[in-house]
Symmetry: C2
Subunit: 248 residues, 2 copies
DNA sequence: CGCTTCCTTGAGTAAATTCAAGACTTGTGG
DNA sequence: CCACAAGTCTTGAATTTACTCAAGGAAGCG
């Protein structure tokens, strides 16, 4: 028996002090515009493992991820599941003009969202071009990412998929590898979740990670933290490059 | 020896008579706005098999597909290729705020585009909310389609992929199956192109199509035209539904 | 400490790929 | 009009990759 998941209403941080101020949907807002957003926003936190929104739900809120990691997933009737998005801090949930969601959103770690009531947000967007432009940018970035992921899902081997996934984590966590190594990266997903992201089984994910470890490409600090020992070998393994991203 | 591919500049059709008037980027424009677009547009045709734009090219034009079929593809260094989009009439090429392309665009059949010089188009968009809203809708529709395709690429079997692909052709060509059958559909791609779309090999595509034919689900009129004999069986085979889309 | 969840590894299997050969189409030139 | 070539498609056989099934080990939580 587990207690009912608790969605907590938090005191919102002032936009000016927000950790994602410079990257989120509000990135290019003036302080006047921030004031408008401030009026309709509320912070909510979701415990790890709990659903944030279900497919088909009416979209009451749109939101930015402030802290934590969430996933977007789609499933077939028989349970086969494919992750279609990984939401890290500053990523946005919900789209103007859509009233329902076409996938499930789940908190993977404890997640704090900066929520805006959808209707109020949509009204605000109309006379706030900085926000609508940013939304367009966000949508196009997601589209580019989705198309890269299609190449991965359709054509890459298990090893290439894993290497590409790890490389994406490095880039999205802004950990630059300056000396051929990258230290102390968070691996926020379980093996099964990684498998659902990459179109593999959890056993295959485990085997490939073990192999990269055995080949001294990566090293695990614990189950959810790792380091890249040989960044060039990792790049080679992604399949994107034949030269491992060397400066020629 | 083949003659150099000829990109032809055609006399543009008046927007009012345009076959894609009601669905393209200009769908919700007023006649004044259409007049503005009319001033900066030009029709260009590309022969079947020729490239329209290359990855990395500077984006000089944005365009709507008026007639014909084009593909968006990405490739790994070793030649493995994944199609990431199929452009049918009324679909749009290019994005506001992006100056380069991240994939190749290729004419699969003879293609006629309604081209707008990118800079002029971007200026126009700023004071034409009907166009910018439509662009946003288009981007979000593409994102939804990309995510459905991710589920297909990551989790569906070869048979399910083929069935889903055929079902998509039925929907996008607006051929409603009223009586459990659908007649005379265009199959605009070669087996290899279908394979690149579905993340399969051309042999697997051929085998699966043969199997659907042998099971009396589909029938070929010629290599590029087919009919659906048993629409429910096709829906069953997509894996999306357990009931084949029956009204319960 | 004991339970549950998550992870690893091995053995056998299944699905799709690769390699290969031949058939059908379509267009071209004699 | 026919023959031939190039491109496309089909089918078979062997192989490979990743999957399934299974067991045991490690980690995290009450």
């Amino acid at each position: 028996m587990t207690a009912a998941p608790k969605i907590t209403l938090e005191t919102s941080v002032k936009c000016g002090e927000c950790p994602i101020r410079h990257r989120a949907v509000c990135a290019s807002c003036t302080s006047d515009e921030l004031g408008e957003l401030e009026k309709i926003k509320s912070y909510r936190t979701f415990p790890a493992g709990t659903p944030i929104m279900w497919r088909g739900d009416e979209l009451v809120y749109v939101a930015s991820v402030v802290r934590g990691v969430a996933t977007l997933t789609k499933a077939l009737e028989d349970g086969r599941t494919q992750m279609v998005g990984l939401l890290l801090p500053s990523d946005f949930i919900g789209r103007p003009g859509r009233t329902t969601l076409d996938f499930d959103v789940t908190a993977v770690s404890d997640v704090t969202l900066c929520c805006f009531e959808r209707r109020a947000f949509e009204e605000l967007v109309v006379h706030t071009p900085h926000v609508s432009q940013r939304l367009m940018e966000i949508a196009l970035d997601e589209l580019d990412a989705a198309r890269d992921w299609m190449l991965l899902l359709g054509r890459k081997t298990a090893r290439e998929k894993i290497a590409t996934f790890l490389d994406m984590l490095i880039r999205r966590q802004n950990m630059q590898g300056l000396d051929g190594a990258v230290l102390d990266l968070a691996l926020p997903l379980t093996r099964e979740e990684i498998a659902n992201y990459l179109g593999l089984t959890l056993e295959t994910v485990s085997r490939q990670l073990s192999q990269l470890k055995a080949q001294n490409v990566i090293r695990f600090l614990d189950r959810k933290r790792f380091e890249v020992v040989d960044l060039q070998a990792l790049h080679m393994a992604t399949g994107d490059d034949s030269d491992g991203g060397m400066i020629s």
